[in-house]
Amino acid sequence: MSHTAAAEPGTVATPWRRAPIARDKKGQWWRFGVIAVLTLIVNTPILAVLYLSTQAGPNSTTTGFTLENFARVFAETDVTIWLGNSLTVALVTVVVAVVVAAPAGYVLSRLRNRLVSGYSLILFVVQSLPVVTAAIPLFLTFTVFGLVDSLGGVAIVYIGSTMSVAIWMMAAYFDSIPISLEEAAWMDGATVFGSFRRIVLRNSLPGILSTAIFSFLLAWNDYLIALLFLQSPDKLTLPVGLQTFFQQNAADWASVMAVAVVMMAPPILIFAVLNRYFSLGGIGGSLAGR
């Protein structure tokens, strides 16, 4: 059997890894084959985007692999503006969400009393509200304050919709930091704010990154709010920009997919670099733990 022979190098190469289950070693290449095929099938639509974006469009003279679609969409469309708008909105959302959610998550993590339980229930209820319910009233309110058709207005809505999960994620991470560290600091006369800043936050980089990634994805991927709130061509973010472009150029798949690649590149790059910090596991615990 070729797969049993092939299994040996893999076993030798990772001697430090705890063998999860005894039956594990045999059949690992068989499982590798299964999961490789499944991964390929699952990612077919994404591979199609990549493939089509590098194929010559209908009005082109070249054939085969080409990057001219990217050159063309950057030269002839507003994709640079959309990209800038999306980045601005997403970064503002991430910064405000983390700055507000981190201290709130600390309270949720360290205190147990009726007020905190009530707060936790509010977070849970807020999370289940449909965005459409809030969209119409916020649209009317934002009209009064001149926040419609403005990137700031959209960012504010995103901050509101990411807040409850962001607080949960921060609380879940703070749960993993032993309180004894802070207690030692308090003995030495540190204030709660001081210990939060110097001990808790300093040891929470993975938690902060997790929360930041979640908020970034929410702001980057949103379609509904951007569709309703943004109107001027120079205010559009990538989701609405891509959708408008798609509706106007439905036959020109090469250009449409080039814009699509521009849009999916940032979240994929972020995950490629930071995926080991990202964990949803904590949400469950912080949701049910109090």
Partner: protein, 325 residues
């Protein structure tokens, strides 16, 4: 290893201790004797900004929407200008055939979305827990459907299935299935939208269940094996009970995600053909922004919210029970 230890560990794993459960060091009603108890002002300052944002951006709009739902307004009229119509919007909405159809589709979409993505996500999580070369790479690659913006994936799915000339219908006709008009046929369109949702959501389930599985003490399996349990028995009798809390939580969250999901449906079908894939949230959107009637739109949204809050509060208590067990 004694039986007592295994049972203890199982108990521990069930409660999720060491993963996300309550830690012994947590301050609980120790009053003013700790610095944390004395620093009420600081802690209030910590919580107040988030509370303000939650109230202004989530609670206030819902209150506003409740007022709009008993008025006959448009997306550009203020509540002070719109005429009061009582519960007429609710009555009209609930008695309309469109609403009933949308409610049933939302139900089917949610049930299939939640359990479909859970089963596939759980299967991948179980498979990825075994020894597989390049395991970590697959873990990341399988997250792509969830990471890629829905506008991009909807565009890709449109390319794959939208017209009879698209690649998938063409490939199917090569093996004898002709005239597969995926987004033109009402039933097929419903199925495609549901599969699309499962495709987007299973990585979320995979992540949730992977981290729950990581906390399962492997000695439990040794014990089950010694007792002569088959792999299937080990799965249903040991693994599933241990991850039951995370399972409930993931179901609650996914129910919320599915009921509130607008772009997945709207970007692929706009609710068509002939309203076949119009869910409640798409119906509310159409009422508000295409028919310019905020009354029925907010009535639909409020009804959805009430049902969703009731369902998730019941499940929230269920989770707490599992947690205490």
């Amino acid at each position: 290893m004694s039986i007592g230890t295994v049972a203890e560990r199982l108990q521990q794993a069930r409660r999720g201790v060491g993963v996300s459960g309550r830690r012994p060091g947590t301050v609980r009603s120790r009053g003013d004797r700790t610095p944390l108890g004395r620093a009420r002002g600081t802690l209030a300052l910590f919580a107040i900004p988030s509370l303000l944002l939650l109230v202004l951006l989530n609670v206030f709009p819902v209150g506003y929407a409740i007022i709009q739902s008993v008025q006959d307004g448009t997306p550009s009229t203020l509540p002070t200008e719109a005429p009061f119509v009582g519960f007429a919007n609710y009555v009209n909405v609930v008695t309309s055939a469109q609403f009933l159809h949308a409610a049933l589709f939302t139900l089917a979409f949610t049930i299939c979305g939640v359990f479909g993505s859970w089963i596939i996500g759980m299967a991948f999580a179980l498979l990825l827990r075994t020894r597989i070369p390049a395991n970590a790479a697959f873990k990341v690659l399988l997250l792509l459907p969830w990471i890629v913006p829905v506008v991009v994936s909807a565009t890709a799915w449109n390319w794959l299935v939208a017209t009879p000339q698209s690649p998938l219908p063409v490939a199917l006709s090569a093996i004898g299935v002709t005239n597969a008009n995926f987004l033109g046929d009402p039933v097929l369109a419903q199925i495609v939208v549901i599969i699309f949702k499962v495709w987007i959501s299973f990585p979320f389930m995979m992540m949730m269940m992977s981290s729950a599985l990581a906390s399962v003490d492997l000695n439990v399996y040794e014990a089950a094996k010694i007792d002569g349990a088959t792999q299937w028995q080990a799965l249903t009798g040991v693994t599933l009970p241990i991850v039951s809390r995370t399972t409930y939580i993931s179901w609650v969250l996914m129910t919320i995600f599915c009921v509130n999901d607008f772009p997945t449906i709207f970007l692929l079908t706009q609710g068509g053909p002939v309203n076949a894939t119009t869910s409640l949230i798409v119906l509310a959107y159409q009422a508000a922004f295409q028919d310019q009637q905020t009354g029925p739109a907010t009535a639909i949204a409020i009804l959805m919210t009430v049902v969703l809050v009731i369902v998730s509060t019941v499940l929230y208590r269920q989770i707490k029970k599992v947690n205490i067990e």
